[in-house]
């Protein structure tokens, strides 16, 4: 009970908890959740948001260190774009392997997650290590590379605003444009889209894969620019995996990804407080993420069964 109270307090207990903990923690799941939702909608099972996020974080750190003398108005957008580019590039490896060699993206994106972790472990001990060479982390990024806060006295930063804008844009794209419609058609059934709809399936999935990677890469850049201000190994406590649960709970609808991400942000913020106040390990969040995914799957099954039942008991029209 104490643990639950601590969880609630840590997430919603005060305005600071909400704006500076919950929403800050919701930012990577929001951007990552959009990455997963877009990919899944196109039938691309990108479970490599974790690796793409790390690639984005590394690129943003490099840009912040390398262009540190530039004004903020140039630096922050370069970090965002650089992170997106790196995420798209990392996803692009898996996208190319799928398109050219037919490699299952579930396996390749997972493998790329582990490779990204090894790469991160190396850069924070090698090229990007802080000057004293003692700690496995980068030097803090220049002050001008820090992303602006959105509210006075709160830690909520620009990354969350990016997330909201991307959610709106993704929803509009999928629901209201011709190319977004093609994505949905491909996701619903690639073979039919190809033969009956004349959609270039290989190209569509490839492009969506890259966009998905870019969203995840932006999540990494936003963590470095808005929260940690440095690069280190634990920069993502599994945000890329939380993103899968976020997207599934939202039924792959970008609008619901926002709500779902805030829910998980609250959970992460609450879990951190819970660990601090009640000694319950934060790794329990991973258990919860898994249970949410399984719950969504079971819920979908039950809904389908009920629909079947209703259809079969409905009297036949004469």
């Amino acid at each position: 009970m104490d643990a639950l109270l601590a969880l609630w307090d840590g997430a919603f207990g005060s305005s600071f908890a909400f704006w500076s903990a919950t929403l800050v923690r919701a930012t990577p799941p929001l951007l990552g959740g959009l990455a997963v939702a877009l990919a899944f909608r196109a039938g691309v099972l990108n479970i490599g948001a974790e690796g793409q996020l790390i690639a984005g974080a590394i690129a943003a750190t490099m840009l912040a260190q390398g262009l540190g003398t530039l004004p903020r108005i140039v630096l922050v957008p370069s970090m965002a774009l650089g992170g997106m580019f790196a995420g798209a590039l990392w996803a692009g490896i898996a996208a190319t392997l799928r398109r050219r060699f037919g490699v299952l993206e579930v396996i390749s994106t997972l493998m790329l997650n582990f490779i990204a972790l090894a790469l991160l472990s190396w850069v924070v001990r090698g090229p990007l290590q802080e000057p004293t060479g003692i700690y496995p982390q980068s030097a803090p990024i220049p002050v001008t590379a820090r992303w602006p806060f959105l509210l006075e006295g709160q830690r909520l930063h620009l990354g969350f605003a990016f997330g909201l804008m991307l959610a709106a844009a993704s929803w509009y794209w999928l629901a209201r444009t011709a190319s977004g419609f093609r994505v949905r058609v491909v996701g619903a059934g690639a073979r039919a889209a190809e033969s009956a709809g004349g959609v270039d399936v290989a190209r569509t999935t490839f492009v969506v894969f890259l966009i998905s990677g870019a969203c995840a890469g932006l999540a990494g850049a936003s963590e470095v620019g808005g929260v940690t201000w440095a690069l280190y190994e634990g920069i993502s406590p599994g945000y890329g995996y939380t993103a899968i649960a976020v997207a599934l709970l939202a039924r792959l609808d970008p609008r619901w990804v926002v709500a779902s991400a805030i829910f998980f942000g609250a959970l992460e913020a609450g879990a951190a407080a819970m660990q601090r106040d009640a000694g319950v390990p934060a790794v329990i969040v991973q258990v919860f993420v898994a249970l949410v995914i399984l719950g969504v799957l079971a819920g979908t099954y039950l809904r389908d069964r009920m629909r079947e039942h209703r259809d079969s008991t409905r009297p036949e029209a004469a």
Binding site: R100, F288, A290, L294
Partner: protein, 301 residues
């Protein structure tokens, strides 16, 4: 040269052993038409199960505990994909996360917040008299721990079972076409449940071997993607027992390369060796495209 090669080959076979267990279990599941992405969860459950059980009653109980833990978590996966017919990929990912999260939470709960300290002595290698004296290959193949010898027996046994028995035929038929298998008198649901329980036991055995024969302790996430690598191994082994065992050996060698380079005195960043098996997985999957023959019904609910 022999002074360098022998430890390398020994390490290759040693690291290949748990990978081969997991991959053979995955092979059984895939031949029944199920991609078991929950394998990573079974392995990590096997790691913790083995550690806890061996503390209660020694190594043999430890292996039993590891397998039981692997079976338990894979049963959750089986319930979802066989009975509820949900998406295998998503259910598998969730079960792997469940395993990683549960073991991390339980380990901290059982052994303290730092989670450090608890170490057990690993089981000792047993040299087979005569065979282990063969130059070069002798020590690599016949100076290993008991699980490796169990593996040697298991590979031909599984190969024969899949090809030569009625049950093996029914399993493969289920993997190719469930409806046809059912029409021919097989019970696809029961077969898939059975195949997944075997896969869970083998995943647990993989974890148990890691802990009891190699590492001697538990750490969060120590399965380190072996479940996903095992899935790639099955693809590389072209869905045959013998091929899968050989492919596991290739990955064992990739993991063991770090010892070889250390012995040769090369100074490369160690992260390169950590990344190597994953890079190798990608490269081999790309190179072997189109040549593999997956069960036709793989992944279908």
């Amino acid at each position: 040269m022999e002074a360098i090669l022998v430890p390398f080959l020994e390490a290759a076979v040693r690291t290949a052993t748990p990978l081969a267990f997991a991959a053979l279990g995955e092979l059984v599941a895939e031949r029944a038409g199920v991609i078991n992405l929950g394998l990573e969860g079974a392995i990590i459950a096997g790691c913790l199960g083995a550690l806890v059980a061996s503390g209660l009653g020694g190594p043999l109980i430890g292996f039993g505990g590891g397998m039981a833990a692997g079976i338990a978590i894979t049963a959750v996966f089986a319930l979802f994909v066989v009975n509820l017919r949900t998406d295998q990929i998503i259910a598998g990912t969730a079960v792997s996360m469940l395993g990683l999260g549960l073991t991390g939470t339980l380990y901290r709960g059982l052994y303290g917040a730092s989670g450090a300290g608890l170490a057990i002595s690993t089981i000792a290698p047993v040299a087979i008299p005569g065979l282990s004296a063969i130059p070069l290959l002798g020590p690599a193949l016949f100076r290993q721990t008991v699980p490796t010898y169990v593996l040697y027996a298991l590979v031909p046994l599984l190969w024969w079972w899949l090809r030569g028995t009625h049950a093996g035929l029914a399993l493969r038929a289920t993997g190719e076409n469930q409806e046809a298998a059912e029409a021919a008198g097989a019970a696809p649901r029961r077969i898939r449940w059975g195949a997944l329980l075997v896969a869970g036991a083998m995943g647990g055995l993989c974890g148990a071997t890691l802990v009891l024969a190699q590492v001697g302790t538990f750490s969060e996430g120590m399965s380190a993607g072996r479940g996903f690598i095992a899935i790639a191994i099955v693809v590389l082994g072209r869905w045959s027992a013998l091929g899968t065992a050989l492919a596991a050996l290739v990955f064992g060698a990739a993991f063991a390369l770090q010892y070889l380079f250390q012995a040769l005195g090369w100074s490369l960043p160690y992260q390169l060796f950590i990344a190597l098996p994953y890079v190798l997985t990608l490269a081999l999957l790309a190179l072997l495209r189109g040549r593999a023959t997956a069960p036709a019904g793989l992944g279908r609910a």
